[in-house]
Protein backbone atom coordinates (compact mmCIF):
# COMPACT_ATOMS: atom_id res chain seq x y z
CA UNK A 1 0.00 0.00 0.00
CA UNK A 2 2.81 2.32 0.90
CA UNK A 3 4.47 1.57 -2.39
CA UNK A 4 1.33 2.44 -4.30
CA UNK A 5 0.96 5.66 -2.39
CA UNK A 6 4.55 6.55 -3.01
CA UNK A 7 4.24 5.87 -6.70
CA UNK A 8 0.97 7.73 -6.81
CA UNK A 9 2.37 10.90 -5.29
CA UNK A 10 5.44 10.62 -7.49
CA UNK A 11 3.17 10.46 -10.51
CA UNK A 12 1.22 13.47 -9.33
CA UNK A 13 4.35 15.42 -8.67
CA UNK A 14 5.81 14.57 -12.00
CA UNK A 15 2.57 15.35 -13.73
CA UNK A 16 2.26 18.75 -12.09
CA UNK A 17 4.50 20.71 -14.49
CA UNK A 18 2.62 19.32 -17.48
CA UNK A 19 0.77 22.22 -18.99
CA UNK A 20 -2.50 21.68 -20.75
CA UNK A 21 -1.95 21.54 -24.50
CA UNK A 22 -3.11 24.64 -26.36
CA UNK A 23 -6.74 24.48 -27.41
CA UNK A 24 -7.08 22.21 -30.40
CA UNK A 25 -9.37 24.87 -31.90
CA UNK A 26 -6.31 26.53 -33.45
CA UNK A 27 -5.19 23.27 -35.01
CA UNK A 28 -8.69 22.45 -36.19
CA UNK A 29 -9.17 25.88 -37.72
CA UNK A 30 -5.77 25.83 -39.42
CA UNK A 31 -6.37 22.25 -40.51
CA UNK A 32 -9.73 23.06 -42.06
CA UNK A 33 -8.29 26.07 -43.85
CA UNK A 34 -5.36 23.98 -45.09
CA UNK A 35 -7.69 21.22 -46.30
CA UNK A 36 -9.95 23.64 -48.17
CA UNK A 37 -6.93 25.48 -49.57
CA UNK A 38 -5.36 22.22 -50.71
CA UNK A 39 -8.55 21.13 -52.46
CA UNK A 40 -8.87 24.43 -54.30
CA UNK A 41 -5.14 24.36 -55.09
CA UNK A 42 -5.33 20.90 -56.61
CA UNK A 43 -8.32 21.91 -58.71
CA UNK A 44 -6.57 25.12 -59.78
CA UNK A 45 -3.26 23.41 -60.53
CA UNK A 46 -4.78 20.76 -62.79
CA UNK A 47 -7.78 22.54 -64.29
CA UNK A 48 -7.40 26.29 -63.96
CA UNK A 49 -3.71 26.99 -64.57
CA UNK A 50 -2.74 27.30 -68.25
CA UNK A 51 -0.55 24.63 -69.81
CA UNK A 52 3.01 25.76 -70.40
CA UNK A 53 3.71 26.37 -74.09
CA UNK A 54 7.18 24.81 -74.04
CA UNK A 55 7.29 22.36 -71.14
CA UNK A 56 3.72 21.13 -71.44
CA UNK A 57 1.97 19.31 -68.63
CA UNK A 58 5.13 18.57 -66.65
CA UNK A 59 5.34 22.25 -65.74
CA UNK A 60 2.37 21.78 -63.38
CA UNK A 61 4.66 20.10 -60.84
CA UNK A 62 6.08 23.59 -60.32
CA UNK A 63 3.03 24.44 -58.17
CA UNK A 64 3.99 21.64 -55.80
CA UNK A 65 7.74 21.99 -56.06
CA UNK A 66 7.97 25.69 -55.19
CA UNK A 67 5.83 25.61 -51.99
CA UNK A 68 7.55 22.44 -50.79
CA UNK A 69 11.00 23.94 -51.41
CA UNK A 70 10.01 27.15 -49.66
CA UNK A 71 8.89 25.19 -46.61
CA UNK A 72 12.09 23.12 -46.65
CA UNK A 73 14.13 26.32 -46.39
CA UNK A 74 11.77 27.99 -43.91
CA UNK A 75 11.96 24.91 -41.72
CA UNK A 76 15.73 25.07 -41.44
CA UNK A 77 15.55 28.74 -40.51
CA UNK A 78 13.08 27.77 -37.76
CA UNK A 79 15.46 25.03 -36.59
CA UNK A 80 18.32 27.51 -36.40
CA UNK A 81 16.22 30.24 -34.76
CA UNK A 82 14.81 27.79 -32.24
CA UNK A 83 18.31 26.59 -31.50
CA UNK A 84 19.70 30.10 -31.13
CA UNK A 85 16.94 31.17 -28.75
CA UNK A 86 17.39 27.92 -26.84
CA UNK A 87 21.11 28.67 -26.35
CA UNK A 88 20.25 32.20 -25.28
CA UNK A 89 17.29 31.56 -22.98
CA UNK A 90 17.81 27.86 -22.09
CA UNK A 91 14.05 27.33 -22.44
CA UNK A 92 13.52 23.82 -23.73
CA UNK A 93 10.30 24.72 -25.54
CA UNK A 94 12.44 26.37 -28.21
CA UNK A 95 14.39 23.18 -28.56
CA UNK A 96 11.15 21.19 -29.03
CA UNK A 97 10.18 23.63 -31.74
CA UNK A 98 13.57 23.19 -33.43
CA UNK A 99 13.30 19.40 -33.31
CA UNK A 100 9.74 19.46 -34.68
CA UNK A 101 10.79 21.79 -37.49
CA UNK A 102 13.76 19.55 -38.31
CA UNK A 103 11.55 16.48 -38.60
CA UNK A 104 9.05 18.15 -40.90
CA UNK A 105 11.80 19.97 -42.82
CA UNK A 106 13.54 16.71 -43.62
CA UNK A 107 10.33 15.43 -45.20
CA UNK A 108 9.81 18.62 -47.20
CA UNK A 109 13.42 18.64 -48.43
CA UNK A 110 13.02 15.05 -49.59
CA UNK A 111 9.83 16.05 -51.41
CA UNK A 112 11.64 19.00 -52.98
CA UNK A 113 14.38 16.74 -54.32
CA UNK A 114 11.86 14.16 -55.56
CA UNK A 115 9.54 16.62 -57.32
CA UNK A 116 12.51 18.48 -58.79
CA UNK A 117 13.99 15.23 -59.99
CA UNK A 118 10.73 14.19 -61.68
CA UNK A 119 10.52 17.53 -63.43
CA UNK A 120 14.18 17.34 -64.43
CA UNK A 121 13.61 13.93 -66.00
CA UNK A 122 10.73 15.28 -68.07
CA UNK A 123 12.34 18.58 -69.06
CA UNK A 124 16.11 18.10 -68.98
CA UNK A 125 16.05 14.37 -69.71
CA UNK A 126 18.03 13.57 -66.59
CA UNK A 127 17.07 12.86 -63.01
CA UNK A 128 19.96 14.81 -61.57
CA UNK A 129 22.59 17.33 -62.54
CA UNK A 130 25.27 18.93 -60.39
CA UNK A 131 23.82 22.34 -60.75
CA UNK A 132 24.43 24.91 -57.98
CA UNK A 133 20.86 24.94 -56.71
CA UNK A 134 20.49 21.16 -56.81
CA UNK A 135 23.79 20.68 -55.02
CA UNK A 136 23.01 23.19 -52.28
CA UNK A 137 19.55 21.64 -51.81
CA UNK A 138 21.13 18.22 -51.47
CA UNK A 139 23.46 19.67 -48.83
CA UNK A 140 20.39 20.97 -47.00
CA UNK A 141 19.00 17.43 -47.00
CA UNK A 142 22.28 16.10 -45.60
CA UNK A 143 22.18 18.80 -42.92
CA UNK A 144 18.68 17.74 -41.86
CA UNK A 145 19.72 14.10 -41.71
CA UNK A 146 22.89 14.98 -39.79
CA UNK A 147 20.82 17.04 -37.35
CA UNK A 148 18.32 14.26 -36.73
CA UNK A 149 21.08 11.65 -36.39
CA UNK A 150 22.99 13.82 -33.94
CA UNK A 151 19.86 14.35 -31.87
CA UNK A 152 19.01 10.66 -31.77
CA UNK A 153 22.57 9.60 -30.93
CA UNK A 154 22.83 12.06 -28.05
CA UNK A 155 19.39 11.17 -26.67
CA UNK A 156 16.96 13.43 -24.84
CA UNK A 157 19.56 15.48 -23.00
CA UNK A 158 20.47 19.14 -22.87
CA UNK A 159 23.81 18.21 -24.49
CA UNK A 160 21.84 16.96 -27.46
CA UNK A 161 19.80 20.15 -27.62
CA UNK A 162 22.87 22.39 -27.48
CA UNK A 163 24.81 20.35 -30.03
CA UNK A 164 21.82 20.41 -32.37
CA UNK A 165 21.48 24.16 -31.97
CA UNK A 166 25.12 24.71 -32.89
CA UNK A 167 24.83 22.46 -35.94
CA UNK A 168 21.71 24.30 -37.09
CA UNK A 169 23.28 27.74 -36.58
CA UNK A 170 26.27 26.74 -38.72
CA UNK A 171 24.13 24.96 -41.28
CA UNK A 172 21.64 27.78 -41.82
CA UNK A 173 24.29 29.54 -43.93
CA UNK A 174 23.24 27.10 -46.65
CA UNK A 175 19.71 28.55 -46.89
CA UNK A 176 20.61 31.98 -48.35
CA UNK A 177 23.09 30.21 -50.65
CA UNK A 178 20.27 27.99 -51.99
CA UNK A 179 18.06 31.00 -52.46
CA UNK A 180 20.68 33.08 -54.25
CA UNK A 181 22.35 30.21 -56.13
CA UNK A 182 20.37 30.84 -59.33
CA UNK A 183 21.54 34.46 -59.32
CA UNK A 184 25.15 33.87 -58.34
CA UNK A 185 25.95 31.06 -60.75
CA UNK A 186 24.82 30.25 -64.25
CA UNK A 187 22.53 27.36 -63.44
CA UNK A 188 20.25 25.03 -65.33
CA UNK A 189 17.62 25.51 -62.66
CA UNK A 190 15.09 28.17 -63.69
CA UNK A 191 15.56 31.49 -61.94
CA UNK A 192 12.86 33.10 -59.81
CA UNK A 193 10.33 34.75 -62.10
CA UNK A 194 7.75 35.92 -59.60
CA UNK A 195 9.00 39.45 -59.05
CA UNK A 196 9.76 40.04 -62.73
CA UNK A 197 6.82 41.85 -64.35
CA UNK A 198 5.52 40.14 -67.45
CA UNK A 199 7.50 36.94 -66.90
CA UNK A 200 4.49 34.91 -65.80
CA UNK A 201 0.81 35.27 -66.68
CA UNK A 202 -1.32 36.50 -63.76
CA UNK A 203 -3.25 33.21 -63.52
CA UNK A 204 0.01 31.31 -62.93
CA UNK A 205 1.02 33.72 -60.17
CA UNK A 206 -2.46 33.41 -58.63
CA UNK A 207 -2.35 29.60 -58.57
CA UNK A 208 1.18 29.63 -57.21
CA UNK A 209 0.23 32.02 -54.41
CA UNK A 210 -2.78 29.86 -53.58
CA UNK A 211 -0.58 26.77 -53.44
CA UNK A 212 2.02 28.58 -51.34
CA UNK A 213 -0.57 29.72 -48.79
CA UNK A 214 -2.26 26.30 -48.59
CA UNK A 215 1.01 24.43 -48.19
CA UNK A 216 2.19 26.88 -45.54
CA UNK A 217 -1.09 26.44 -43.62
CA UNK A 218 -0.66 22.67 -43.88
CA UNK A 219 2.91 23.05 -42.66
CA UNK A 220 1.73 25.06 -39.62
CA UNK A 221 -0.71 22.29 -38.69
CA UNK A 222 2.01 19.71 -39.11
CA UNK A 223 4.48 21.73 -37.05
CA UNK A 224 1.99 22.14 -34.18
CA UNK A 225 1.27 18.42 -34.13
CA UNK A 226 4.96 17.52 -34.26
CA UNK A 227 5.74 20.04 -31.54
CA UNK A 228 3.11 18.46 -29.30
CA UNK A 229 4.49 15.02 -30.08
CA UNK A 230 8.06 16.05 -29.25
CA UNK A 231 6.86 17.78 -26.09
CA UNK A 232 4.92 14.73 -24.92
CA UNK A 233 7.83 12.45 -25.76
CA UNK A 234 10.15 14.53 -23.60
CA UNK A 235 7.64 14.80 -20.75
CA UNK A 236 6.85 11.10 -20.77
CA UNK A 237 10.54 10.28 -20.87
CA UNK A 238 11.08 12.56 -17.88
CA UNK A 239 8.17 10.97 -16.00
CA UNK A 240 9.59 7.54 -16.64
CA UNK A 241 13.02 8.63 -15.43
CA UNK A 242 11.49 10.04 -12.25
CA UNK A 243 9.50 6.87 -11.62
CA UNK A 244 12.65 4.82 -11.98
CA UNK A 245 14.39 7.14 -9.54
CA UNK A 246 11.55 6.61 -7.05
CA UNK A 247 11.83 2.83 -7.36
Amino acid sequence: MAVINKTGTALQEAAAPVRRPPRPIVSLLLGTLALVGMMISIWAIFLYAPTDAIEGLSQRIFYFHVPVAWLAMLSFVIVALGGAVYLWRADERWDWLALAAAESGAVFTTLTLVTGSLWGRATWGTWWTWDARLTTSLILWFLYVAYLMLRSYLGKTSTSARAGAVLAILGVIDVPIIYESVNWWRTLHPAAEIGTPGALPPSVVLVLMLALVSFTLFYCVLLIQLYQLVRLQHLSWRLRARLQAVD
Binding site: T135, A146, M149, L150, L154, T159, A163, L167, I169, L170
Partner: protein, 228 residues
Protein backbone atom coordinates in the same frame (compact mmCIF):
# COMPACT_ATOMS: atom_id res chain seq x y z
CA UNK B 1 45.28 47.76 -18.85
CA UNK B 2 42.82 45.31 -17.37
CA UNK B 3 41.83 44.13 -20.81
CA UNK B 4 45.48 43.75 -21.76
CA UNK B 5 46.23 41.51 -18.82
CA UNK B 6 43.12 39.46 -19.61
CA UNK B 7 44.37 39.01 -23.13
CA UNK B 8 47.77 37.99 -21.83
CA UNK B 9 46.14 35.44 -19.54
CA UNK B 10 44.08 34.13 -22.45
CA UNK B 11 47.20 33.73 -24.60
CA UNK B 12 49.11 31.97 -21.85
CA UNK B 13 46.18 29.55 -21.38
CA UNK B 14 46.10 28.82 -25.11
CA UNK B 15 49.85 28.26 -25.18
CA UNK B 16 49.77 26.00 -22.14
CA UNK B 17 47.11 23.70 -23.62
CA UNK B 18 48.77 23.78 -27.03
CA UNK B 19 52.16 22.94 -25.47
CA UNK B 20 50.62 20.02 -23.62
CA UNK B 21 49.05 18.67 -26.81
CA UNK B 22 52.26 19.03 -28.78
CA UNK B 23 54.24 17.24 -26.09
CA UNK B 24 51.64 14.48 -25.94
CA UNK B 25 51.74 14.11 -29.70
CA UNK B 26 55.54 14.10 -29.87
CA UNK B 27 55.63 11.27 -27.36
CA UNK B 28 52.80 9.14 -28.68
CA UNK B 29 53.29 9.88 -32.42
CA UNK B 30 49.83 8.39 -32.92
CA UNK B 31 47.89 11.02 -34.76
CA UNK B 32 50.25 12.51 -37.32
CA UNK B 33 51.80 9.20 -38.31
CA UNK B 34 48.37 7.70 -38.89
CA UNK B 35 47.13 10.75 -40.78
CA UNK B 36 50.22 10.86 -43.00
CA UNK B 37 50.07 7.18 -43.92
CA UNK B 38 46.35 7.47 -44.60
CA UNK B 39 46.90 10.43 -46.94
CA UNK B 40 49.53 8.43 -48.86
CA UNK B 41 47.16 5.49 -49.18
CA UNK B 42 44.44 7.74 -50.58
CA UNK B 43 46.91 8.99 -53.22
CA UNK B 44 47.73 5.42 -54.21
CA UNK B 45 44.07 4.41 -54.40
CA UNK B 46 43.21 7.48 -56.48
CA UNK B 47 46.03 6.66 -58.84
CA UNK B 48 44.40 3.33 -59.67
CA UNK B 49 40.79 4.42 -59.35
CA UNK B 50 41.18 7.07 -62.06
CA UNK B 51 43.75 5.43 -64.32
CA UNK B 52 45.86 8.55 -64.48
CA UNK B 53 47.14 9.67 -67.84
CA UNK B 54 48.71 12.88 -69.03
CA UNK B 55 45.48 14.31 -70.39
CA UNK B 56 43.25 13.79 -67.34
CA UNK B 57 45.89 14.54 -64.73
CA UNK B 58 45.08 18.20 -64.25
CA UNK B 59 41.38 17.40 -63.86
CA UNK B 60 41.82 14.66 -61.27
CA UNK B 61 44.81 15.85 -59.25
CA UNK B 62 43.19 18.74 -57.27
CA UNK B 63 40.30 16.50 -56.25
CA UNK B 64 42.63 13.68 -55.21
CA UNK B 65 44.74 16.08 -53.19
CA UNK B 66 41.80 17.51 -51.27
CA UNK B 67 40.05 14.20 -50.71
CA UNK B 68 43.27 12.91 -49.18
CA UNK B 69 43.68 16.02 -47.04
CA UNK B 70 40.09 16.13 -45.84
CA UNK B 71 39.88 12.43 -45.02
CA UNK B 72 43.22 12.45 -43.26
CA UNK B 73 42.26 15.59 -41.34
CA UNK B 74 39.04 14.01 -40.11
CA UNK B 75 41.03 11.05 -38.85
CA UNK B 76 43.09 13.35 -36.65
CA UNK B 77 40.23 15.72 -35.78
CA UNK B 78 38.18 12.89 -34.34
CA UNK B 79 40.92 12.33 -31.78
CA UNK B 80 40.99 15.94 -30.58
CA UNK B 81 38.59 15.77 -27.68
CA UNK B 82 38.11 12.01 -27.64
CA UNK B 83 41.72 11.47 -26.55
CA UNK B 84 41.16 13.85 -23.64
CA UNK B 85 37.98 12.06 -22.67
CA UNK B 86 39.58 8.62 -22.84
CA UNK B 87 42.48 9.79 -20.71
CA UNK B 88 40.02 11.27 -18.23
CA UNK B 89 41.69 14.65 -18.57
CA UNK B 90 38.73 16.41 -20.16
CA UNK B 91 36.90 16.84 -16.86
CA UNK B 92 40.02 18.24 -15.25
CA UNK B 93 40.56 20.58 -18.16
CA UNK B 94 36.98 21.83 -17.83
CA UNK B 95 37.33 22.20 -14.08
CA UNK B 96 40.32 24.49 -14.53
CA UNK B 97 39.48 28.21 -14.51
CA UNK B 98 40.16 28.35 -18.23
CA UNK B 99 38.16 30.27 -20.80
CA UNK B 100 36.35 27.75 -23.02
CA UNK B 101 37.41 29.73 -26.05
CA UNK B 102 41.03 29.28 -25.02
CA UNK B 103 40.48 25.52 -25.07
CA UNK B 104 38.93 25.78 -28.52
CA UNK B 105 41.68 27.98 -29.90
CA UNK B 106 44.42 25.74 -28.49
CA UNK B 107 42.78 22.63 -29.92
CA UNK B 108 42.29 24.34 -33.27
CA UNK B 109 45.92 25.51 -33.43
CA UNK B 110 47.11 22.05 -32.45
CA UNK B 111 45.01 20.45 -35.17
CA UNK B 112 46.21 23.00 -37.72
CA UNK B 113 49.80 22.25 -36.75
CA UNK B 114 49.45 18.47 -36.99
CA UNK B 115 47.45 18.57 -40.23
CA UNK B 116 49.85 21.17 -41.62
CA UNK B 117 52.88 18.97 -40.94
CA UNK B 118 51.16 16.02 -42.59
CA UNK B 119 50.30 18.18 -45.60
CA UNK B 120 53.83 19.52 -45.89
CA UNK B 121 55.14 15.95 -46.04
CA UNK B 122 52.36 14.74 -48.33
CA UNK B 123 52.55 17.56 -50.89
CA UNK B 124 55.98 16.72 -52.41
CA UNK B 125 55.03 13.03 -52.51
CA UNK B 126 51.78 13.94 -54.20
CA UNK B 127 53.61 16.12 -56.73
CA UNK B 128 55.99 13.27 -57.51
CA UNK B 129 53.32 10.55 -57.72
CA UNK B 130 50.96 12.58 -59.88
CA UNK B 131 53.72 14.37 -61.79
CA UNK B 132 52.12 17.77 -61.34
CA UNK B 133 54.01 20.99 -60.70
CA UNK B 134 52.68 21.97 -57.31
CA UNK B 135 55.61 23.82 -55.89
CA UNK B 136 54.32 27.26 -56.63
CA UNK B 137 54.07 29.62 -53.69
CA UNK B 138 50.43 30.27 -54.55
CA UNK B 139 49.40 26.84 -53.34
CA UNK B 140 50.39 27.60 -49.76
CA UNK B 141 47.59 30.09 -48.98
CA UNK B 142 45.04 27.76 -50.58
CA UNK B 143 46.19 24.80 -48.49
CA UNK B 144 46.36 26.92 -45.35
CA UNK B 145 42.89 28.46 -45.78
CA UNK B 146 41.32 25.15 -46.83
CA UNK B 147 42.82 23.35 -43.86
CA UNK B 148 41.72 26.14 -41.56
CA UNK B 149 38.13 25.74 -42.73
CA UNK B 150 38.15 21.97 -42.26
CA UNK B 151 39.87 22.19 -38.88
CA UNK B 152 37.55 24.94 -37.59
CA UNK B 153 34.43 22.86 -38.18
CA UNK B 154 36.15 19.59 -37.29
CA UNK B 155 37.42 20.79 -33.92
CA UNK B 156 34.00 22.14 -32.96
CA UNK B 157 32.20 18.95 -33.91
CA UNK B 158 34.76 16.61 -32.41
CA UNK B 159 33.80 18.14 -29.07
CA UNK B 160 30.14 17.35 -29.82
CA UNK B 161 30.64 13.78 -30.95
CA UNK B 162 33.25 12.83 -28.33
CA UNK B 163 30.45 11.94 -25.92
CA UNK B 164 28.56 9.68 -28.31
CA UNK B 165 28.89 5.98 -28.85
CA UNK B 166 29.46 6.18 -32.58
CA UNK B 167 31.74 9.19 -32.90
CA UNK B 168 33.80 7.81 -35.79
CA UNK B 169 30.57 7.40 -37.71
CA UNK B 170 28.93 10.63 -36.67
CA UNK B 171 31.82 13.07 -37.11
CA UNK B 172 32.11 12.80 -40.92
CA UNK B 173 28.31 12.90 -41.27
CA UNK B 174 28.21 16.21 -39.43
CA UNK B 175 31.37 17.75 -40.84
CA UNK B 176 31.12 16.92 -44.56
CA UNK B 177 27.89 18.76 -45.38
CA UNK B 178 29.16 21.88 -43.65
CA UNK B 179 32.60 21.95 -45.24
CA UNK B 180 31.34 21.40 -48.78
CA UNK B 181 31.75 25.10 -49.69
CA UNK B 182 35.29 25.09 -48.31
CA UNK B 183 36.18 21.94 -50.24
CA UNK B 184 34.65 23.22 -53.48
CA UNK B 185 36.52 26.52 -53.21
CA UNK B 186 39.82 24.81 -52.33
CA UNK B 187 39.57 22.28 -55.17
CA UNK B 188 38.67 24.95 -57.71
CA UNK B 189 41.42 27.28 -56.53
CA UNK B 190 43.95 24.44 -56.76
CA UNK B 191 42.67 23.52 -60.20
CA UNK B 192 42.96 27.12 -61.36
CA UNK B 193 46.66 26.97 -60.50
CA UNK B 194 47.15 24.07 -62.91
CA UNK B 195 45.00 25.28 -65.77
CA UNK B 196 44.21 28.97 -65.84
CA UNK B 197 40.45 29.15 -66.35
CA UNK B 198 38.79 32.41 -67.36
CA UNK B 199 35.70 33.82 -65.64
CA UNK B 200 36.22 31.90 -62.44
CA UNK B 201 34.84 33.42 -59.24
CA UNK B 202 37.45 34.55 -56.70
CA UNK B 203 37.73 31.16 -55.00
CA UNK B 204 40.46 32.22 -52.61
CA UNK B 205 38.34 35.11 -51.37
CA UNK B 206 35.33 32.81 -50.94
CA UNK B 207 37.53 30.39 -49.01
CA UNK B 208 38.68 33.17 -46.70
CA UNK B 209 35.09 34.40 -46.27
CA UNK B 210 33.86 30.95 -45.24
CA UNK B 211 36.79 30.57 -42.86
CA UNK B 212 35.91 33.85 -41.16
CA UNK B 213 32.20 32.90 -40.87
CA UNK B 214 32.93 29.43 -39.52
CA UNK B 215 35.65 30.61 -37.18
CA UNK B 216 33.53 33.33 -35.60
CA UNK B 217 30.48 31.06 -35.25
CA UNK B 218 32.59 28.25 -33.79
CA UNK B 219 34.21 30.68 -31.38
CA UNK B 220 30.81 31.88 -30.20
CA UNK B 221 29.23 28.46 -29.80
CA UNK B 222 32.06 26.23 -28.57
CA UNK B 223 31.28 26.83 -24.89
CA UNK B 224 27.78 25.37 -25.43
CA UNK B 225 28.94 22.05 -26.83
CA UNK B 226 31.72 21.39 -24.32
CA UNK B 227 29.72 22.12 -21.15
CA UNK B 228 28.62 19.04 -19.29
Amino acid sequence: MNRLSALRLFCSQVLAILGKDIRYELRSKQTWLGMGLFALLVFVIFNFAFDLRVENRAAVAPGALWVAFVFASLLGLGRTIAAEREGGSLDRLLLCPVDRRAIYLAKLLGNLLFIGIVELVALPIFAALFAVPLFSGELLPIVLLGTLGVATIGTLFSAMTAATRARELLLPLLVFPLIVPVVIAAVRATGALMIAAPNEPPWLGLLAAFDVIFLSLAFLTFSYVIEE
